[in-house]
């Protein structure tokens, strides 16, 4: 590794580390402030989350209030959380009574798997499709993929997921419907998310392939004697990949939302699902913990995107 490369890597790390720190504080404060701003009595919500609608009542809410010290001033509760966070302690789930870190650690793994699977699926779809469309702009492939992109952008993830299950699990029996017992379980949820992501990223790739194909250097590569295939693999793809990889960074934010839906449809024990439940149940510790984890995850994945961009583009211009 050259020292210049080390330097850019280090710069990227430093920048993201600072961002991570800001994220930690902002996420903590924002999620806490918003939870405080929510109307209604938190004790009721927490009791509801714990005991379910058959067992939850005012007495349960009172017990919860007493147990969790919800009567404490809000600012004190926030201070306790931040202080604990500095010691890498995320606290205890108000609803489930288990340490937040335990809840998150298993779920994060599953969510990462799903997010990773989704990105891989989106690339597996977007790469060939985007390249084929970009190589022949306004051709039949381009037009069809444009239509499909619109289609997959407009279909909500849950409907898409169910249709995929119907086709691939029920009719063809190729993959399981739901659950998470093996790699085959990852296919359909990843595909559901991946199709949604690819609906946009294939157009980004298509555009950058069109640009690359029109570039002077592409023609020069041909006229200096490289075949179409070699020109594509040695020059066009690398150049065209850059905007796509950078775009993955933008997509990550949307991925989180998609994860929530897909986790619910496919009964996948992920962190997005946990976040939604935590918000509904006013489980402040879990909200803060999951939001923090998702925020840091976003930062970490963006770091990967940064590094990938730097790997593809040695000019070091992309900050």
């Amino acid at each position: 590794m050259t020292s210049a490369l080390m330097k850019t890597v280090f710069a990227a790390l430093a920048k993201r580390a600072l961002q991570a720190l800001i994220v930690a504080v902002v996420v903590g404060i924002v999620s806490f402030a918003m939870m405080q701003a929510l109307p209604g009595d938190a004790a009721y919500r927490i009791a509801a989350g714990r005991y379910g609608y058959d067992m939850m009542d005012a007495a349960a809410a009172d017990a919860v209030r007493l147990e969790l010290g919800l009567d404490q001033p809000a600012i004190l509760q926030l201070w306790i959380w931040l202080k604990a966070l500095a010691q890498f302690d995320l606290g205890t789930s108000l609803v489930y009574g288990t340490p937040v870190i335990d809840e998150i650690s298993t779920q994060l793994g599953y969510s990462l798997l799903l997010a990773g699977g989704a990105i891989v699926a989106s690339l597996l779809i977007a790469l060939p499709v985007g390249i084929a469309a970009g190589l022949n702009p306004n051709g039949i492939v381009d037009r069809v993929t444009f239509g499909l992109s619109v289609l997959f952008r407009a279909i909500p993830a849950f409907a898409l997921g169910i249709v995929l299950v119907l086709i691939f699990a029920v009719q063809l029996g190729l993959f399981p419907v739901a659950g998470f017992h093996g790699p085959e379980n990852l296919v359909l949820p990843s595909l559901t998310l991946g199709l949604g992501l690819a609906a946009v990223s294939n157009r980004v790739l298509r555009d950058s392939v069109v640009d690359a194909m029109r570039a002077d250097w592409r023609l020069f590569s041909r006229t200096k004697g490289l075949s179409a295939r070699l020109t594509l693999t040695r020059h066009v793809l690398r150049n065209a990949a850059l905007p796509v990889v950078a775009y993955i960074g933008v997509q990550l934010a949307y991925l989180i939302e998609g994860v929530v839906i897909v986790e619910t449809v496919f009964a996948w024990p992920g962190i997005g699902h946990a976040l939604v439940h935590a918000i509904f149940g006013r489980d402040i510790a879990m909200v803060q913990g999951t939001a923090l984890t998702l925020g840091l995850l976003y930062v970490a994945l963006n770091l990967c995107v940064d590094l990938a961009c730097r790997g593809i583009d040695p000019r070091g211009r992309l900050a």
């Binding site: 570039a215 002077d216 250097w217 023609l219 020069f220 590569s221 041909r222 006229t223 200096k224 004697g225 490289l226 075949s227 179409a228 070699l230 040695r234 020059h235 690398r238 150049n239 850059l242 593809i312 583009d313 040695p314 000019r315």
Partner: protein, 467 residues
């Protein structure tokens, strides 16, 4: 005698409209053909027709025979297989022809490997040799964006010729290069026929034609104007168009009148004292002094990268000088120092009709629109052009419009940063002539930055050489 390339009645059509031709030529090993003409004369269409890279909307007629094979009857894929191995192409603006993400060495060595069919080790060795021969040592790991124009040209040359093609097509190989690099590239090209290759060069530069010698074809609006030995044609052109091309070579310009008595007659409009400028922390030069008087024409000459543009920016007050002062004559507003740019389209908002741009300026400086139109007329611009957007008029026209725009302000100093280096020779001459006329008429000083000493000598009252 076997001719390596024979072109017979080649013409290019868009539908039924003939854009270029018909032209014919025969070139044998060691031969050189220079195709001359202005931008838009269809020169590049010849190259595209020979290569088979014409856009789909165009088609070629006529016969092209390379080494006895009828290229024009070949399938597209077969023609493409000749690229790099039979016909090599040296692109114009080579810094845009190199893959921005690949290091210089690999861009050449991949051609040796894949096109030359050499093993990796041999390809690398040959690339290293080429880098050494071309004076590129040290540039192996550089990316195109860090290469100078001349280096990029040589890297492209090394990559293009790696396949050992007997025919080299060079399209405007000297475009945008400074005088020194200009010479080097021409020397490089001149070697090709000497080493038994065949060179087809496309240029608008008479000096290139002169130095490459060989045969010459002069095109105007796509039509053949003149053809023959370069020496003969340049010495005794039969057409007036060829003559005007020759006249447009700065070497052949008439000497402008040197205004030598300015110090007594004219006011000082700008004083530069002990100026030092820096770019990204690196000091470029220091101790620069200049006193400009109204109506004076000063040329600043120096190679690329020396900091001419930065100096102009300091004089325009766009950047703070590192040291020294730039003083405008009293009672001048800061808008009296204006700039002309090297790339005229970049100096205008791209998506707005030119009319609006000029009207904005006229309104701001309370200049009568009719007087703007008068200026435009003097510069030979028809008002109807103003309805177009910058990319819909030619570079020469746009540069003249930008002169008119600057004049709307009533400038005392016009800083011209290589305003004609991207223009054809004839346009270049006309534009500078007009600038001279306007400076005299409107009594403003011009600082012309150029890398061409010929232009400086012929055009300016005095020349400052930056080293």
């Amino acid at each position: 005698m076997i001719y390596s390339i024979e072109v017979n009645a080649l013409s290019v059509y868009a539908g039924k409209t003939r854009l270029m031709g018909p032209i014919s030529f025969n070139l044998s090993n060691g031969g050189t053909l220079v195709i001359m003409g202005e931008t838009g004369a269809g020169k590049s269409l010849i190259a595209q027709a020979i290569l088979g890279t014409l856009p789909n909307t165009l088609h070629a007629k006529g016969q092209i025979t390379v080494n006895g094979r009828r290229v024009d009857q070949m399938r597209q894929s077969a023609r493409r297989r000749m690229w790099g191995t039979v016909i090599a192409t040296l692109p114009q603006e080579p810094w845009r022809a190199l893959d921005p993400l690949m290091r210089a060495f690999r861009q050449v060595s991949e051609a040796h490997h894949y096109v030359g069919g050499k093993k990796r080790s041999l390809a690398n060795a040959d690339t290293a040799k080429a880098f050494e021969t071309l004076g590129l040592t040290g540039a192996e790991k550089q990316l195109p964006n860090t290469l100078s124009g001349g280096m990029a040209q040589r890297v492209a040359f090394a990559a293009a010729t790696a396949g050992n093609a007997p025919i080299l097509l060079a399209d405007e190989p000297t475009k945008g290069l400074d005088a020194e690099r200009h010479t080097k590239v021409v020397e490089l090209l001149a070697k090709v026929p000497k080493e038994g290759g065949t060179l087809i060069a496309i240029t608008h530069d008479v000096s290139v034609t002169r130095r490459l010698a060989g045969e010459v074809i002069v095109l105007r609006d796509g039509a053949l104007v003149e053809q023959g030995k370069a020496i003969d044609v340049l010495a005794n052109p039969t057409s007036s168009y060829t003559q005007s091309l020759i006249d447009a070579d700065p070497k052949n310009w008439p000497q402008s009148e040197k205004q030598s008595d300015l110090a007594e007659k004219r006011d000082v409009v700008l004083t530069v004292e002990n100026l030092a400028v820096a770019r990204s922390g690196k000091r470029l030069f220091e101790g620069f002094d200049l006193t400009l008087r109204a109506g004076e024409r000063v040329a600043l000459v120096g190679p690329s990268g020396i900091g001419k543009t930065t100096l102009l920016d300091a004089m325009a007050g766009l950047i703070k000088p590192e040291a020294g002062t730039v003083t405008r004559a009293q009672s001048q507003s800061r808008h009296t120092v204006q700039k002309l740019y090297q790339d005229p389209p970049a100096a205008f908002p791209a998506r707005i009709a030119l009319k609006h741009v000029l009207k904005d300026v006229a309104r701001l400086h309370k200049t009568d629109w009719s007087s703007v139109l008068t200026t435009l007329e003097k510069l030979g611009i028809h008002p109807s052009l103003l309805d177009r957007k910058p990319d819909e008029v030619s570079g020469g026209e746009l540069q003249r419009i930008s002169i008119a725009r600057a004049l709307t302000v009533g400038p005392k100093v016009l800083l011209a940063d290589e305003p004609t280096s991207r223009l054809d020779p004839i346009t270049q001459r006309d534009t500078l002539n007009m600038l001279e006329t306007m400076a005299a008429a409107e009594n403003f000083a011009v600082v012309l930055v150029t890398h061409d000493r010929q232009i400086a000598n012929k055009w300016a009252d005095r020349t400052i050489i930056l080293t």
